[in-house]
Structures are given as structure tokens and as C-alpha cells.
């Protein structure tokens, strides 16, 4: 159903080639450039040749085309049904989309088809008018390269305010929360969207002069013992991180992961969830924290 040639990169690349040919500006060099930009790494070995050999009779020898109109297809029924499904998602209210043209379309799936069974229950209130207003102000600021003034509740409940440039809007499906990643005068910070109590548009800034700071990453190395299908479970659980895995023995693997420093506590909890299937080799401070947890557990056990 989804896997159809008309959605393919070859069709998209040829469509661009025809448009360039219609403008009368298509050259051999341009032909290859379009393929490079619109298709796969090895497509330049195929598409130009198929057109030049007239296996796909769409370009004349002089790289003009008998196709008169710019190739434009309408949305397929599948695409429309998918868009219609999105309209019933609570988060759609954060975006000003138009339902025009989708009135008589059946959604591809009903709104309650999915159950995110291990999602945390304290997610953002996407339908709260104040939340929507703040979210849209942040979107507008990012779109127009403007700073924002935000007031928010800090983690310890204290009132805080910042004048900042928002350069990323981050969503976590597990937390079901949006967070803004922003930069103030001196340093970068992250604010949960739901903690923002006031959000105002400020002056413009020059995106050329503003360089977002790359997140600082740390490395964790652990040995993994493949018992009770741990290999597959661990690999899937950490699959969203940059990683390298090496087999070092029978049912024994060495895994190196990169994670962002702000996630240190979360990493500790995630490592603990695999119990004795994982032995952390570095960093030392993480090993100490795990040992500390084991000692505390032992004390609780002996106190009984």
C-alpha cells in the first residue's frame, strides 16, 4: 500500500529534471546535480543514462522535453487520509492548519487506534488555551528569528524569567512533553513548555550571528551479557543513541553509547532497569552511583 513507485525518489528526480528541461536551462551538469539532490547516492549511474538512451522517452537529445506542463500530481487518497487522521490528534491544535479539502475524507485510522502503554502519565496539556498560546508564540519567534521573554516555574518551584533565543523545540514521546532549548546572554538552557507562565515576542536577532551551542556528549561503555534475550532488549532500548557494539565472547558484548550530559540521571535509571545483564565499565562516577544504589539496597534488606 505504502510502497509504491509514485512516492519514490526516482519519480521525484525525473519530475525535477522535466521542470528544468521545460525552462530551457537543462545541461548535462545540471541533470546530474538534480539527480544528486533528489535521489540516492548511486542513482546518477542510472537516471541520466535511462533518459539519454530513451528507455524513458521523456528528454530529447538536446535535453529539451516534449512534456508541456510542469508535472504536478494531486495528493493521493492515502496522503489525504493520513492528513485527516492528524486532525484528530490533540497536538494538532498547536499548529494553525487548514482542514480545507479534507471534509469528505475518511481518516486513515481512528484517533484512539494507538496505545502508548509505557508513556508517563503527566504529559503536557495540549488543549489548554494558555499552553497553546505560549506554544504558538514560540513558533512565531522561531519562524521570524525573534527573541522571546519567558517567565516560568523552575524545578524547585521558584519563579524565573529569561530573555532568550529559542533554537530548538524538542518533543519526547516517552514524557509526552515539549521543551524549548534556548540560549540567553551567557549560556544555554532547557525549559519545559508546560512550566512557562508568560511568553512574549521580543526584538529580532540575526541568525547569522547566532550559533546554537552543540550539546555536550558523554560516553558510556558497558558489557552486556546476553541472557533472557537481553541483547535484543538492550540494543532496541538504546537504539536511538549513537552506538558501537562489539562481540567480545560467547554471549558477551561490549557496547559504547554517546548521551547528552543533561541525561545522566536518566541513564543511571535506564541502566539499572537491565539489572545484572549490564556491567558498566566507564565512566567511573556512574559505576560509583550504581554501587551506591546496591549498597543502599543491601542496607534496606538487612534492616528488615
Amino acid at each position: 500500500m505504502l510502497f509504491n513507485e509514485i512516492y519514490g525518489k526516482y519519480f521525484a528526480a525525473v519530475s525535477e529534471i522535466i521542470k528544468a528541461a521545460q525552462s530551457g536551462k537543462l545541461t548535462e551538469k545540471e541533470l546530474y546535480a538534480i539527480v544528486r539532490d533528489n535521489a540516492f547516492a548511486e542513482s546518477s549511474l542510472v537516471i541520466p543514462q535511462m533518459l539519454k538512451d530513451e528507455n524513458w522517452p521523456l528528454l530529447r537529445k538536446d535535453l529539451s522535453t516534449p512534456i508541456e506542463h510542469a508535472p504536478e500530481r494531486s495528493l493521493t487518497l492515502l496522503e489525504k487520509r493520513w492528513l485527516k487522521s492528524l486532525l484528530s490528534d490533540p497536538r494538532i491544535k498547536l499548529f494553525d492548519v487548514s482542514a480545507k479539502g479534507l471534509e469528505d475524507i475518511e481518516p486513515l485510522y481512528p484517533a484512539d487506534s494507538f496505545v502508548y502503554f509505557d508513556r508517563y502519565s503527566n504529559g503536557d496539556s495540549f488543549e489548554d488555551p494558555e499552553y497553546i498560546k505560549n506554544f504558538k508564540t514560540v513558533l512565531k519567534a522561531m519562524r521570524e528569528h525573534r527573541k522571546v521573554y519567558v517567565e516560568f516555574k523552575g524545578h524547585r518551584g521558584t519563579d524565573q524569567k529569561r530573555n532568550c533565543v529559542v533554537y530548538n523545540l524538542e518533543y519526547s514521546s516517552k514524557d509526552d512533553k515539549f521543551r524549548i532549548i534556548a540560549s540567553g546572554d551567557r549560556y544555554s538552557f532547557i525549559i519545559n513548555m508546560a512550566r512557562i507562565t508568560k511568553c512574549e515576542l521580543m526584538e529580532e536577532y540575526s541568525p547569522e550571528e547566532f550559533r546554537p551551542k552543540a550539546p555536550i556528549k558523554k560516553e558510556i561503555v558497558f558489557e552486556l551479557f546476553d541472557e533472557r534475550n537481553a541483547l535484543e532488549r538492550v540494543m532496541l532500548h538504546f537504539s536511538h543513541l549513537e552506538k558501537e557494539t562489539e562481540k567480545i565472547g560467547d554471549k558477551k558484548y561490549r557496547v559504547k553509547l554517546l548521551y547528552e550530559t543533561e541525561d545522566e540521571t536518566e541513564m543511571l535509571i535506564r541502566i539499572l532497569s537491565f539489572g545484572p545483564m549490564i556491567k558498566v565499565l566507564s565512566p567511573q562516577n556512574l559505576i560509583e552511583q550504581i554501587k551506591n544504589r546496591i549498597e543502599k539496597q543491601e542496607k534496606l534488606r538487612t534492616q528488615k
Partner: protein, 413 residues
């Protein structure tokens, strides 16, 4: 067949991509179930589709190929590219552009008029082109009409075809599409849209599991059956039974998705086993829709009842329930632990016993599924009892094993 970077069938490449992405430590010789040539071709294709996301490492066993992506910083799920590599015939791509062009400007033409137009307007410009017969063109027009690209109506005795006018204005969808293309379980469809407006918003996704994109085709077929309340025949690989494929006749009810490893499961009613069950989507090979289920409400009622006591995706032993109680020690200033219990529990209840103790209680079908979560409270568990003694033993044995492991004993596992 000469090598092509496009594929006709998604099934084989799906398996390779999963292995390159999830594991990434296997050398060429370890892909023993497939021929070396097949491995080389699939690896070359994936390299062509994914470019820099493919990495290599040389070990004593040979060259290991793996896909490494930090999905938090990747602009778009690179695995979506695989869905844009469907093979086609020379005639197919040519006809696509001829038909769009002939019908542009609101024209409505019959099959014969289209065949004649192709011949006169385009093929006459080339030396020895392959002609298109009426039946080939008719078949293509039918396909495009079913997809919604074309509309058809009667003109006298014959059908005429014209381009569909969708009237959908995507201009103000830019940011929503940037978000849902990554976040929605069928987000791959967002990459197909023609003339997609460009978003100026740089979304990032934390805890973003991209692998399930490879199951999009299966998911789409299941959702289509669900939207029409149809039962379905699903072909599933059985890992416990030497990878044999079994066909199950089921009524699909919900898609369960883990936000903590990305796995997707179909919750369905199994007609032969006469009970609800979960099937992993990555183990499903095909979905064939069947008849409309007349007892829809009855089965959905089972589903809702089941959800009250299912911790994850296991229904455990039929008709049995495990009772679990856990007392967590909380120090002054550690109220965040209580909040963790509240937000992370999927069923059951949390009670404050006194200033330092909080009790969690739950009745679930399979308490074994709770073990990883319980382990995250290591260092705080004052007391734990489970009616399923095997689960209780496992938790305490694991704690002992952890103690030995970090005390220097590597042979504890």
C-alpha cells in the same frame, strides 16, 4: 538480474536494515541464512539510500557494517528512504509523466484518446520507442484512479479520465508536517507529499525510536483493516518455533507502542485461541483483510477490560492475575520519587504509608513484565511481595547478582 538500487519487495531489505541498525556487530559471514551475493547487494543498496548513516568497523572476523544514528540530532528519519526505492518498469515511469501532461489544464480524455495522444505528442519525437497498447494504459489509469490521482466519469458510452483536484492547501501545514512526519507512527507518508512546504522550525525528538518506520507498510495495512472493522489473516514469524511463518486469523483492535524501545504490537482477538493476544509488528510479514466483524463491540469490550490489568504487552497465563506490593523508602527532599511512581505506574495505586514509606500495589496479568521497572528503584525497595513467586525470586536473585557483579564477580550471570 543485474543489480539495481531499487527493490520490488520490501521484506528482505527490511530484515537487513533492522539487523544493521539494531545490532551492527555482525560480519558478512554471520549473515549465514542468506547468500553472500544477496548480502553484498542489500548492503550496497542500504549504503546508497542512507549515505553517511552507514558506518564500518574492521574486526578479526571481517568488516562489520552498521547504521548509527543519533535520532535526537538527525533532521529526518533516514530509514524512511527505504520506502522511496520501489522498482518500476520503463513503461511505468514514462506513462506517469505522459498521463499527467495529457490531462493537465482540466482535460478529460478517454483511454483511446490518451493512447493516441501518447503516440502523436510524445512517441513521435523519439526513434524506435515502445508503443503502449490500450490495455496497458487502461490498467494504469485504473490504478491511478484507485489511488486518487485521477477521477473518472461517463461521457456517452465511454469513461473519461481527468486529474483529481484535491483542494488541500498545504501552505499552512509546514510546521505540523515537520512534527508529525517524525512523530506519527505512519509519518513516512509525510515524506511522500508533493510540494511539501518547508518548515522553519527545527524540531528535535528525544527518546525517538526510528526503527519502527520499517514496519510502516504492515502498520498501514492493519490500520486500514481496523478502520473498516475487518478481521484479517496475518502471517507471523514464530521466533520460538524456528522462524516458521504461521498464518493467524484475528480481529485487529489496537496498536500498542512502547515509548521506551519503539516496539509496536498488534492487540487482536485470536479466533482459534479464543482470547486476546499481542503480535509484534516486526514479526508480521503480511496482512490480508477479511470480512467485517459483526461483533465489534463485544471484542472491543474484551480489549478495554484487558487494558485495566495489562502492564505491558503480555496477557500471561490465561485467566490468572499476579498481585504485587512494593514499599519504597523515601528520604526527606526525595518527593520526586513519589512523583516518579505516580507518573510511571501504568495501573495499580500509590499510597503514602508514613513520611519515609510509599506503597505501590497492582494486579496485573504478568508481573514478570514489571521487573525492569522495579529494578529502577534499586536502593529504595524496603519490601516486595508478589503472588507469582518466580517473579519475586527473580527480582531478589538479580539484586544479589548485581551485588556480586559490581563487587568483582563476573561469572554471576
Amino acid at each position: 538480474m543485474p543489480y539495481s538500487e531499487l527493490v520490488k519487495n520490501f521484506e528482505r531489505i527490511r530484515d537487513y536494515m533492522r539487523q544493521f541498525y539494531v545490532y551492527g556487530f555482525k560480519s558478512r559471514s554471520e549473515y549465514d541464512s542468506k547468500s553472500a551475493r544477496s548480502y553484498d547487494n542489500e548492503r550496497r543498496r542500504i549504503e546508497s539510500w542512507l549515505g553517511d548513516y552507514m558506518s564500518f568497523r574492521t574486526t578479526a572476523e571481517g568488516k562489520n557494517v552498521f547504521i548509527s544514528v543519533d535520532s535526537r540530532s538527525a533532521e529526518q528519519n533516514p530509514l524512511y528512504n527505504a520506502f522511496r526505492a520501489k522498482s518500476f518498469t520503463d513503461g511505468s515511469i514514462t506513462l506517469y509523466f505522459y498521463i499527467l501532461d495529457l490531462l493537465s489544464g482540466g482535460k478529460a480524455l478517454s483511454v483511446q484518446e490518451i493512447v493516441d495522444g501518447i503516440s502523436e505528442k510524445y512517441l513521435s519525437e523519439f526513434e524506435n520507442p515502445e508503443e503502449f497498447d490500450v490495455s496497458t494504459v487502461r490498467k494504469k489509469l485504473k490504478e491511478y484512479t484507485e489511488m486518487g490521482l485521477l477521477e473518472t466519469e461517463k461521457r456517452g458510452k465511454e469513461n473519461v479520465f481527468s486529474l483529481s483536484e484535491d483542494g488541500v492547501d498545504l501552505k499552512n501545514w509546514a510546521e505540523a508536517l515537520a512534527f508529525y512526519t517524525e512523530e506519527d507512527p505512519l509519518g513516512v507518508i509525510g515524506t511522500f507529499l508533493p510540494e511539501k512546504p518547508e518548515s522553519k522550525i527545527d524540531f528535535r525528538f528525544k527518546h525517538h525510536y526510528i526503527l519502527n518506520a520499517l514496519d510502516s507498510d504492515i502498520l498501514c495495512d492493519i490500520l486500514l483493516a481496523m478502520s473498516e472493522r475487518r478481521c484479517a489473516e496475518v502471517a507471523v514469524t514464530s521466533k520460538r518455533n524456528n522462524d516458521i511463518i504461521h498464518v493467524h486469523n484475528v480481529f485487529p483492535m489496537k496498536i500498542f507502542i512502547s515509548t521506551q524501545n519503539g516496539r509496536q504490537y498488534l492487540l487482536c482477538y485470536h479466533y482459534s485461541f479464543r482470547q486476546p493476544m499481542f503480535l509484534r509488528l516486526d514479526m508480521i510479514h503480511s496482512v490480508k483483510p477479511g470480512a467485517v466483524e459483526k461483533q465489534y463491540e463485544k471484542y472491543m469490550g474484551y480489549c478495554e477490560k484487558l487494558r485495566e490489568n495489562v502492564w505491558g504487552v503480555s496477557v500471561g497465563e490465561p485467566f490468572s492475575m499476579d498481585h504485587l506490593e512494593m514499599v519504597i523508602h523515601v528520604e526527606k527532599g526525595e518527593e520526586y520519587i513519589v512523583r516518579r511512581l505516580e507518573r510511571e505506574k501504568r495501573c495499580g495505586k500509590v499510597e503514602r504509608l508514613d513520611v519515609n514509606r510509599v506503597k505501590f500495589t497492582a494486579d496485573v496479568f504478568d508481573a514478570g513484565e514489571m521487573i525492569p521497572w522495579i529494578r529502577t528503584f534499586t536502593g529504595r525497595i524496603e519490601n516486595l511481595h508478589c503472588s507469582n513467586k518466580a517473579v519475586e525470586k527473580q527480582i531478589f536473585d538479580d539484586l544479589e547478582a548485581m551485588k556480586a557483579l559490581y563487587g568483582g564477580d563476573e561469572d554471576v550471570i
